[in-house]
């Protein structure tokens, strides 16, 4: 798991077109990963990596980063080397003050490593000053000089700040390490090629004994197994240098051969503080970066949706096929009666009892000699008998709220063979005084339009 995995997943999710079913199938086929979202994302990313155009964003970005880092590392190494040479150069007037070199290989690394540690705890902050002061932060500024296409890639990329901060921290450790390596090599080269007279000098009132105590503490990590790399009190006394006075000419010159002994201490200080501790910081930053990649994977746009699609069962309730529906014509029925006659030859009711028919007819001020119930619970024989008795004009009451069924239509066709005219009257319930909504009559209107029976009239 590294920055490249993050970037590849970033690119995959940005261009993701996988169907939900496909993602769920993936989730089911990797059921052991169910409660491990990061692993799920990584395995999914690996499975889909082939769909990305080569080189992938991960390849391109890490390649830029590598290139720029390499330049910075080289620059840091050269700067370290020259700094070392400059610090160890003997002017001919004054000896080389070890305090300057110690500042570069002990105090400065300790300070920057402390700042790095603090910044490691503040990696969530977008605008982290501690991160921004790092030379690695300026890598992106260097990238501004890259060709346009490369720049566009980087501009559109939105890396999680947590991850970006860790990338900077990790690269900073590498750069600092190579800077220190430059210092060490400079020290070794100078020691081999020149005769350096080391000394120490300070304005502060520090006795050689106190300074020895301090150096003994600095040399704590190696003083037991490499005592020669710890300056003795005598060496410290001999190498104390005052710019004013005549001490240099006598004691220092007398012990000139011993003054060079300082190099072992300086080399070990560089090795331990500037290189080994820095390496540990680098290891820490690797761990931090890995953890940041993990966290950042979950923050990727689309990651939550993908995980949900992998882990949630697909529940569907809808129909599989397309619905076949009958769409009736909207034409109005042409044969409409607006006023009922005072009398008819026969009154019939579809699933309406004879008693109810009498009451309904009365309410409509219609009289008739014969009333028949048809349909409903009647047998077909009973209906045929009613038809045989139905001649002339038939007033046919139907329950307006019930839609016309084909059973009714069959009967109507047969009735029309015998009757001269059929006036169909949709009625409402007794509670509503047999009045019916016009929308219900519309249903009957549409049905009559479809069956096109010339003897049938509709009362509206």
């Amino acid at each position: 798991m590294n920055l490249k995995s993050y970037l590849n997943l970033y690119e995959l999710l940005e261009n993701d077109s996988t169907a939900r079913e496909e993602n769920r199938a993936f989730g089911l086929s990797h059921i052991l990963l169910k409660n491990k979202p990061i692993e799920q994302l990584l395995v999914w990313g690996n499975d889909h990596i082939a769909t990305l155009q080569k080189p992938t964003l991960g390849d391109r970005f890490t390649s830029y980063l590598y290139g720029v880092s390499l330049v910075l590392v080289f620059v840091a190494f050269v700067v370290g080397l020259f700094s070392g040479v400059a610090l160890l150069s003997y002017s001919g007037h004054e000896p080389v003050n070890v305090v300057y070199f110690m500042a570069m290989v002990v105090f400065f690394p300790l300070l920057t490593m402390t700042l790095t540690l603090i910044s490691m705890f503040r990696t969530n902050t977008v605008q982290s000053v501690l991160v921004h002061v790092s030379p690695a932060f300026w890598m992106e500024k260097i990238m501004a000089f890259l060709p346009n296409k490369l720049q566009n890639d980087i501009k559109t990329l939105k890396i999680n700040p947590l991850l970006a901060n860790w990338v900077v921290i990790k690269r900073s450790q590498v750069i600092a390490w190579f800077f220190s390596l430059g210092l060490l090599l400079a020290l070794l080269a100078m020691v081999v090629t020149k005769d350096i007279a080391f000394a120490w000098s300070t304005t502060l009132d520090i006795t050689p004994e106190a300074f020895h105590g301090f150096l003994n503490t600095v040399a704590l990590p190696w003083r037991d197994f490499l005592p020669s790399a710890v300056p003795s009190v005598e060496l410290i006394q001999n190498s104390q240098y005052f710019r004013l006075g005549d001490k240099l000419s006598e004691e220092m010159i007398a012990n000139a051969s011993k003054l060079g002994e300082w190099w072992k201490f300086l080399a070990m200080a560089t090795l331990f503080y500037a290189l080994l501790l820095r390496f540990l910081m680098y290891v820490l930053s690797l761990i931090g970066l890995k953890s940041a990649v993990k966290k950042s994977l979950l923050s990727l746009n689309g990651a939550a949706k993908l995980l949900r699609e992998m882990n949630e069962p697909i529940i569907s309730t809808h129909a599989l096929g397309k619905e076949e529906v009958f769409v009736p014509s909207e034409s109005d029925y042409g044969q409409i009666v607006s006023q009922l006659d005072a009398s008819y030859d026969v009154v019939q009711g579809w699933a309406i009892s004879k008693e109810q028919l009498v009451v309904i007819s009365d309410s409509k001020a219609v009289i008739a000699p014969k009333f028949f119930e048809v349909g409903g619970a009647n047998s077909f024989e009973e209906d045929h008998e009613v038809i045989s008795k139905s001649k002339g004009e038939v007033l046919f009451f139907v329950k307006g709220w019930e839609p016309p069924t084909m059973d009714f239509v069959d009967y109507l066709h047969e009735l029309c063979l015998k009757a001269d005219k059929v006036v169909l009257v949709p009625v409402g319930t007794a509670e509503n005084h047999y009045s019916i909504k016009s929308s219900a009559v519309d249903v009957w209107d549409r049905k009559l339009s479809q069956i096109n029976e010339v003897k049938v009239w509709l009362k509206r």
């Binding site: 619905e323 619970a377 069924t405 249903v443």
Partner: protein, 468 residues
Amino acid sequence: MAETMSAHPKFAVVGHPNKGKSSIVAALAMDDSVQISDTPGTTTKQRSFPLRVDGKTLYELYDTPGFQRARRVLAWLEKHEVSADKKHEVVRAFINEHREDERFNDEVQLLEPIINGAGIIYIVDGSKPYGKEYEAEMEVLRWTGQPSMALINHIDESDYSQEWKRALEQYFKMVRTFNPMQAGLTQHMGILESMAQLKEEWVAPVKASMRLFEQYHEQMMDKSASLLARLVYESTSLVEKLHFTTEDASDEEKEKVENNYKNRLRKLELDTQNKVEHIWNHDHLEVEVKDLTFEGMDLFSEETASVFGLTRKELIITGATSGAVTGAGIDLLFAGHTLLLGGVIGGVAGGVGAYFGFNELSEVKVLGQTLGKRYLQIGPMENRNFPYILLGRALYYAQKVSKRSHAKRGEMELEMDSTFKALWLDDEVRKTLEGYHKKFRSGKEVTSEVLKEYEIVLKGVLEKLAKA
């Protein structure tokens, strides 16, 4: 029997034409694509609505055409004098004989799933009187020998359910009332529970389906909360830029960048509404309805602020509280040596900020002066009230969509009044939300953990609204 061929339970929704079969299927299957019409005979073919989880069917619901010639079918069946245990074979013979007969298309379509093992859900309209003409179809269903239940649907307001119950109880094992237009999850589960009781073998799979439906509901809630959280976060942190080359930006350019900003916010809201509809399987809400959504209640109107936003007093309290929290942090840092002045000063500063932040959305700033590429920028949202307005509207919409029956067709009614706010926004929720809104407004990257926490708060609100 064919029933043994497939393990999952099946249920055929049957009945007289126009009694709401398709409405009930739409509600139970949560599918708003089902054609529902007041014209009888709209449904011409049986249609299966399987409840599937990862491709596996747990149960299957069939929408069927209504009975058209029930008396003729019954007359045909009764011609065959057989013992009760052979009656279903006569029904099968009827289907086989009339499969190509146009006259009995509807009967073949509705009887086929039943004779293949589906339980019967017979639908009647309890708002209309019982009639003898129903007896033929109920008798035909009895001939199939399949377990059956009746559902009394109420299409209108009148109530004839007692007379219906008396008749239906003579034919069906169970009689229940179900209004698909108003049915929520509880009623839905109630009907499934009844369906499970139709046959012993169906109890386990239907109960599993019930649990699944609850899980499905939970999923929908989660997804809605996630969408709403994203909407508020993206809207609040949105930034709109407009480059200009002249010496100074003109008023038109400032107006343009502000309009672009508002339009992007409106689009985010509309996209979220569409996604919420999709989550709740309401993909067929009419397009014109969407256009009418919040008509006269623009996201940036005073009306919408008064209905969904915080009052000036609430806003000052919210600002003061969040300011005081920061101040209290200062007190804590100095172990109380500030004599708790931090809290007081923070409270006053927050309150004043909130007061002045009531009307303006965000300042239009001129940026990039030193680099030569000058541009106007508006956003992230500075108005403290805006997230509440946006969230209120989104919650309102999500609540309406989630509670809308899939049997309903036509426009979704949106009657907004200030009582809605009281349903979800109390002091505690407001304080919790303000903490997140502050983070969103800061323009800093918000981690997935913070968004997840915000989602959980919103899910709680949605659940509260679902119960309201």
